[in-house]
Symmetry: C2
Subunit: 234 residues, 2 copies
């Protein structure tokens, strides 16, 4: 088990174990099916099993780990049906909120959206995918905030994690970033024009094209997937 987790330096605080493991799973450092051991994790993080157990339990609730009593803990396979359901939920919620955002937008908020676009443009020019997706998330979160439902973003983040896990299996090309950026520009433009129908259509097209990319990634990484509707008898 490679586990290039930096458990070194400063003793991990309360939720460090959770955050580190979650990040490793989302990034693909921990591959689906890979086995973990609470004891070994505790040793690696320099803590006892108790905080490790807390983290493992939460990750299990999130669907990232599968704990089999008396057997072991494993990185959960990616279920294609779960990914599709996540897409459905995200699309449904964000298409609704973008309508509200288009109806409620005020000039100050419009400027904030422009700043997000500018940050994305810089990231595209630098071909910096990490910076791009940081600005991407900030923009989506801001749109939902403008819609008046800031807490809904937390829910989106949860379901989006399933999608990001797939996305992280492949590297984004500069062309792809540019395409996404163009889609973002249309969304913002329609929102600024206070055109709910246009904004919703642009958002739906955007999310669909991201999902299509995810589908292509899945097709070329089938070893990590499990499309069986296995009841995860938690």
């Amino acid at each position: 088990m490679p586990l290039p987790l930096s458990a070194t330096a400063r003793g991990p605080r309360q939720h460090d174990v959770y955050d580190t493991l979650r990040h490793a799973i989302l990034n693909g450092d921990l591959r689906p099916g890979e086995g973990l051991s609470e004891t070994k994790l505790a040793a690696q993080f320099g803590v006892s099993r108790t905080p490790v157990r807390d983290a493992v339990r939460r990750l299990s609730d999130d669907g990232f780990l599968r704990v089999i009593p008396q057997v072991g803990t494993f990185v959960a396979p990616i279920q294609l049906t779960a990914v599709a359901d996540s897409q459905f939920v995200r699309e449904t919620l964000e298409c609704r909120t973008i309508r509200l955002a288009a109806e409620r937008l005020d000039p100050t908020q419009a400027d904030a959206l422009d700043r997000h676009l500018a940050a994305q443009e810089r990231a595209v020019a630098a071909n910096d995918a990490t910076a791009f997706f940081t600005a991407d998330e900030a923009m989506h979160a801001d749109l939902i905030r403008i819609a008046g439902r800031p807490a809904v973003w937390n829910l989106i983040l949860d379901v989006k994690a399933q999608l990001d896990r797939v996305r992280c299996l492949s590297l984004e090309s500069a062309d792809w970033l540019a395409m996404i950026f163009d889609q973002h520009r249309v969304i913002i433009e329609r929102t600024r024009a206070r055109d709910p129908d246009g904004a919703e259509a642009a958002m739906r097209a955007h999310l669909r094209s991201v999902f299509d990319a995810i589908d292509r990634i899945a097709a070329t990484n089938q070893e990590y997937f499990e499309d069986s509707p296995t009841d995860p008898a938690r």
Copy 2:
């Protein structure tokens, strides 16, 4: 602390503590603000603190408990903004799925829906609110299954818990059950007629009227609520 939890008989299994506490909170047996103690809970359930801690952590993640380190564990107040957001999410998702259900319904599924209505009608006649809401949930779940997104129901259940928690603060009158039942009949009728627009409108009206009732309950039980947008620094 009353806590009429039946910790008697058969040793509690894996998630008994969680299920029991969750049920007690949703039913209002444990009131918002009430304090709990892991030690006392462990004694009441006849187990050690470890499984109790697991349950408490999960309930904390769910937003039902608020754990303050070195101080105590308390039943979380009901946040009106969270309730409103839950309503928004539920309405958005169920209005989308009912459209899909209306488009996809087949005769076998239609019969199942009729059976749900029949069960509800019996419950209304007997003024049995528990039986009514059991059939209610089964029907909503079935509609989402018909829409082809069965897993989405799990998400709805999560957000619905916030709404049910408020609903359980008051008893339903027979009149109110009858009104809800009528709304259900319209939803099913429009779905069977393969009328997505009509079904969605009926579903939205239904969910809104339930939410209005929740708002009225909240107005008369303000002591349990907290509308401050407190950041629940998990």
